[in-house]
Symmetry: C2
Subunit: 422 residues, 2 copies
């Protein structure tokens, strides 16, 4: 088992200015080739600390991946510390990265200054993996630690690090024995991690020893189940894992919404696109979050017509055509109101499908009928109008996320039953 | 200077399943009392590793704060490791926390099992700070390291950790000499960090030595400038810092949108609420993000009437009343179209103010008039209709964020000029 350490470098991390997202994305990427992350460490911009902390990590790991401290300003001292650590004070210009530096500055309409060219200069002791999205290349130092450890120095900007990760992973695979690995994702929604674990515990116990199961929960996506096989001949195991997924599908039913790493809005988009159907949204308490999620999917303009956020009651009445008597009789957070909203936005936009929400995200704000944390979801389709109630107990932001995800899941289930399973 | 280390515990961190947000929020909280964070470390759920890593941190820090590993399941072994580390195998029941355990389970309609009561049992060697939002108390172990170090063990759930942080900070202040500290925040929008730094470099150089300036950038909030004074008599320094902020205000003008830690949507909300004005939104490329941001502000229903996301051209025409000729003649991403959208939603909802966006968030999607990354922002007010163009070069998600923040900033500037500076 390959042992790895992830070291993020920069004062901005230690003072809490920036939340470190690089460590998690690097860990997921190298975890996929079976590397085990033994430690994550954040180190200040201090040359002596960088050298001593990295030496300590190199002594007990095969791979050390650093991010940050490679910028052009005087705060950024990682490169110099790595030169010292690897026993050189000599640098060379990397022509491939220099070309990228020129291209990036040109695209921004800026001149190339010495300080920019400097970015493509690297210690003699390292090889380079190109950084296609930024000016600082990825530096690869081999033969460190007790002689077999490798250090990869990546940029701190997540946008750049994520783009370079596949090349770093390929380099690790090329230089270290890694396991044959097969991953399969199953996306579920609507069951908490603990309830899900209980429901599938017999199935989990029946998994062959070489199959590993991970639970990856996300408030907007639900719980992703990841099945991994880390060794053996893949043909054989593909069969095993396919059979196991079929069993799981029978146990979980429509709690499963995708068999690839997807989102609820992504899964909805695929069905709508394939069937040539259109969608509109009417929101209240979710305040635009559902429309926002739908439109983060590239190509969503093919099926998403638009949405109305009716925060004020009079917008529900005047724009969406919800009868004033409905709101008065049943309350603004009710099955009847949300169905009228869904029906109203469907008629207003002429869409095939519509989803609506009305609820109390808090803090406070429940009425005599429904407490804070309640959302009613309405769905209008060519076959009729439907609604469902959910209740959550979180703070305002988290409630809004849960409400939006519940609305998307309710829509997805309805879509599947009406257009897929027919 | 108080030295501190933040240690997050849990396999879920090391496999990249969870992004650590606790370290940053803890660092900001203790940074505010002048503590310096020397290291952030993530440690797996492994008793021996927890003990050895924490001992190493305690040897060189006054304060060590851990999060995680305090749950009721068998994976959670932090409490046991801390008992060992502090030299005990004896536990006691903390009655105050036990009451909270009962209250929390009751509110969820669940029975209190032994496994739940267990949560309120803590090692004899620790004091307790109550966890009001969760079942596992904060444990305080004093006299560690070389005799003067304190370890605070906090829960891993950010919602719980954030709520308990003020009590932990108060405990640190009660037990260690901390500096007199004064922080002041200045929120800016519309200038990149580097451009801002250049513009205020003379002013920055003129700051007295005891005044520290930090740049805290955020895609949705702009750059927050934080001025801190860590020592001396506060009265005196309040005067110094107030004078310096006045100078800064003259240099930056309406780039500054708040003198407290705020958001664009928060600053907008304050003005609207104070003046009794209402707001509506028409979105296209931002797909609901602006309405979503506005409604994350508690109490926004006092001024936000609603929004229309007109993704399809026909919704722009039929719901917002944008003339088909305008779109045909000037393009869907244009000054004329966005002004018609803003005007249309203002009339539709009867709001005092309206903000609208139309643009190309990418990937792809520019037309012969405007490239990908362009957004037109329109503002309709009692005094007229206005528009402004912005261009960004990011990926889709980041472009949508930038577009939304630019729209909010444009609205805020207009609001201030029309209702504040009169």
């Amino acid at each position: 088992m390959l042992k790895a350490s992830i070291c993020t470098i920069g004062d901005e991390l230690l003072i809490g200015q920036v939340i470190d997202t690089n460590s998690a994305s690097i860990s997921r990427a190298i975890g996929a080739i079976g590397a085990k992350v033994t430690a994550m460490v954040s180190i200040p911009d201090d040359g002596a600390r960088i050298i001593s902390d990295l030496k300590a990590q190199l002594a007990v790991n095969d791979i050390v991946i650093t991010t940050g401290g490679l910028g052009p300003t005087k705060d950024d001292i990682t490169k110099q510390a790595l030169a010292t650590l690897s026993g050189t004070d000599q640098y060379y210009m990397h022509d491939g990265q220099l070309e990228i530096v020129h291209a990036i500055l040109k695209s921004r309409g800026l001149d190339v200054l010495d300080i920019n060219r400097q970015q493509a200069m690297v210690p003699k002791t390292c090889e380079v993996i190109l950084n296609k999205r930024g000016t600082a290349p990825i530096m690869v130092f081999r033969g460190l630690g007790s002689g077999n450890s490798t250090l990869y120095a990546m940029p701190g900007v997540p946008f750049e690090t994520e783009a370079a990760l596949p090349d770093v992973v390929a380099d690790i695979v090329a230089h270290y024995p890694t396991d044959n690995i097969l991953h399969r994702n199953i996306m579920t929604y609507g069951m908490a991690e603990s309830a899900l674990a209980k429901k599938i515990s017999d199935w989990e116990d029946s998994l062959p020893e070489e199959v590993h199961l991970a639970y990856l929960p996300d408030p907007l996506k639900g719980v992703r189940l990841r099945l991994s096989i880390y060794s053996g001949s893949l043909d054989n195991e593909k069969q095993i894992i396919d059979n196991k997924i079929k069993e799981l599908s029978d146990i979980l039913g429509d709690t499963i919404y995708s068999y690839e790493d997807d989102t609820l809005e992504g899964a909805i988009g695929k069905i709508l696109k394939e069937k040539g159907l259109t969608l509109s949204v009417a929101e209240s308490c979710t305040g635009g979050e559902i429309a926002h999620l739908i439109t983060t999917v590239p190509g969503s303009s093919a099926y998403f017509l638009g949405s109305v956020t009716s925060y004020a009651v009079k917008i529900k009445e005047q724009v969406l055509g919800v009868p004033a008597e409905t709101i008065e009789k049943y309350g603004v957070v009710s099955s009847q109101t949300v169905e009228a909203m869904a029906d109203g936005v469907r008629k207003l936009t002429g869409s095939d499908y519509a989803v609506a929400t009305t609820g109390f995200a808090g803090p406070g704000g429940g009425d005599e009928r429904e407490p804070e944390g309640t959302v009613w979801v309405g769905i209008a389709t060519p076959k009729g109008v439907f609604s469902q109630r959910y209740n959550y107990r979180n703070d305002r932001r988290r409630n809004i996320q849960r409400f939006a995800a519940s609305a998307l899941f309710t829509l997805l289930k309805r879509l599947r039953s009406e257009v897929l399973y027919v």
